[in-house]
Amino acid sequence: MIIDGAGRLAKGPALLLIMGAALMVSVVSITNGAYPLTAGDILGVVIGDLNDEVARMVLFDVRLPRLVLGFLVGAVLAVCGAILQGLFRNPLADPGLIGVSAGASLAAIAVIVLGGTWLGGWLDLAGAWALPIAAFIGGSGTVFLAWRIASRAGHTSVATLLLAGIAINAIAGAGTGLLTFYSSDEELRSLTFWTMGSLGHAAWDDVAMAAPWLLLSLCAAPFLARPLDAFLLGEQVVGHLGYNTDWTKRAAILIAGLGVGASVAVSGLIGFVGLVVPHLVRHTLGAGHRIVIPASALAGGTLLVGADCLARIVVAPAELPIGLMMALIGGPFFLLLLLRTRIA
């Protein structure tokens, strides 16, 4: 029995289904790209028969890190979305709400625009990593700032956190706007491309830089499943069920801040995954976080890798920004789901 009475998929088969999809997009992602490689070439490179250094480079140093990073980033964005939606008890919550994207954008544009002048020292110090590290600090820093503002005497008010997030978003947005105004044409184009997100420049050192944070938040997230289930029943219930409310909030914010901060740092702004994937999962598998979190991770990774495949194939040899691709695929799909629910 795959579908239960409420029209939801049984959890085991559903998870297997998503894993199958994940495997499929991974294969598609490895075998497709602008550089022409036949299945035979790929097999040859993998088993070491084919001595083609460029094919090897395309496969192992371009497509593979891109696949790994895409999957991790997609998984983290979706899981953090699920956690924040649970924490805020609001299906519209996404990491952008508590300031990650705004903070990271502000830091990124500061590096792009002020890199030649005020922030020259930072550029000398961090080199090629100046932008990703700044974006990580900016993104995570804003989240912690919002959290500090919302916390008093060891208690965090979720409502204040939300409002603080909105205010910080506005301030960071104004800062970004101001720097945009002072930017040159070229800086502006760089920023525009950054805000649309890309996995196109992923190399193994990007993976190495981001993976610890991404894995940390992926591994820590399942521990929040039961307390978050309790959150769905109301904040008081959490305490009654024996979970520490403030500890849960703190952990959720820490996971989201670090995870999304690291994602944004290596791939730019990729919207939509964090909002829609948990929705889809809840819709098809039910609202329990013990299933929502792992299923969101798998589905988020799958979706992002799938979108990335299209992004690099559709206009090859050029590439579309992945954020754009994500919205193009996800938007209509989400609408369809809404319409079907309304009819049912």
Binding site: V54, M57, V62, D185, V315, P317
Partner: protein, 282 residues
């Protein structure tokens, strides 16, 4: 170990490159005015791909596009199996360029041209790289003669020109200092009516009225993109009413490529209607 792999790699590619060079090198050009230069040198047979800023001459549209020169995709460029990526220092991201040269592509970053002298130097350099020195010299001679013939607005009584960029349907940007537009005005001996602004900034309609320029130049990224009926403030300026305006393609005006003399001649002939004009005798 890594060094050895790299050396082996480059050895493989060097031999590969010399083999194909005997026929014709495969070149990806990532910059509009460099692409124009390649065509002007009649080396377009070597082009296997261009970036999105390359839109002249029209035949360039049939070549594969590798995206924007500030966001070059590694695999996309490599898929065209180029021997050489011909671009400017504006090309990005740096790590993609590094990896391309690791993959055996000869990445050549030329300086950005901001004066007739730069333009000629860059054409000479491209000619040298492509082995078309004779053609390059002919083009440079032509540019030099034509540029010298262009009347310069006199230094003391300089013509104030308002330079606008029309991109997209909304709004117009004013070109301040540190822009290619400003450099073009300098080459013509005219002064920028918006010299207090740096870079391209959104136009303030009142400031347009207040600027009272002697002439107006509009660079549009697509033909017909600039519609004067949407800009009553501009149409109200004396310069516009008296016909001292020029609307032209932005690549022609701002590219500082082989079409630079044409751009300068066209703007100069419009400016020629303005104020005292001294002949250029440098």
């Amino acid at each position: 170990m890594r060094l050895m792999v790299l050396m082996a790699l480059s050895a493989v590619f060097l031999s590969f490159a010399t083999l194909t060079e005997a026929a014709q090198p495969r070149i990806v050009s990532a910059d509009g005015s460099i692409t124009e230069t390649v065509y002007a040198l009649e080396a377009q047979g070597s082009l296997v791909g261009v970036d999105t800023t390359s839109n002249y001459p029209a035949q360039v549209q049939s070549l594969p596009k590798v995206g924007y020169l500030r966001a070059l995709p590694f695999e996309g460029v490599l898929s065209l199996r180029p021997d050489m990526l011909l671009t400017t220092v504006e090309a990005a991201p740096d790590r993609t360029l590094e990896r391309l040269s690791q993959a055996g592509v000869d990445v050549i970053k030329l300086p950005v041209a901001r004066s007739p002298a730069d333009t000629m130097a860059r054409i000479r350099e491209v000619g040298r790289i492509l082995g078309k020195q004779a053609q390059a010299n002919a083009i440079i001679d032509d540019i030099r003669t034509r540029v010298e013939r262009i009347p310069l607005a006199s230094e003391g009584n300089s013509v104030r020109v308002l330079f606008l960029m029309a991109a997209g349907n909304h709004g117009v940007m004013i070109a301040g200092k540190d822009t290619a537009a400003d450099a073009l005005l300098k080459a013509l001996g005219a002064s920028n009516a918006m010299a207090e602004v740096t870079g391209y900034k959104p136009a303030n309609r009142e400031a347009l009225l207040a600027s009272q320029p002697d002439a107006i130049v509009v660079a549009e990224s697509r033909p017909g993109q600039f519609d004067i009926t949407q800009w009553p403030q501009l149409a109200a300026l004396d310069a516009w009413k008296q016909g001292r305006h020029y609307v032209g393609d932005s690549m022609l005006l701002l590219g500082f490529g082989p079409r630079l003399p044409q751009a300068m001649e066209e703007v100069a002939s419009m400016l020629g209607q303005v104020g005292p004009v001294a002949s250029n005798d440098h």
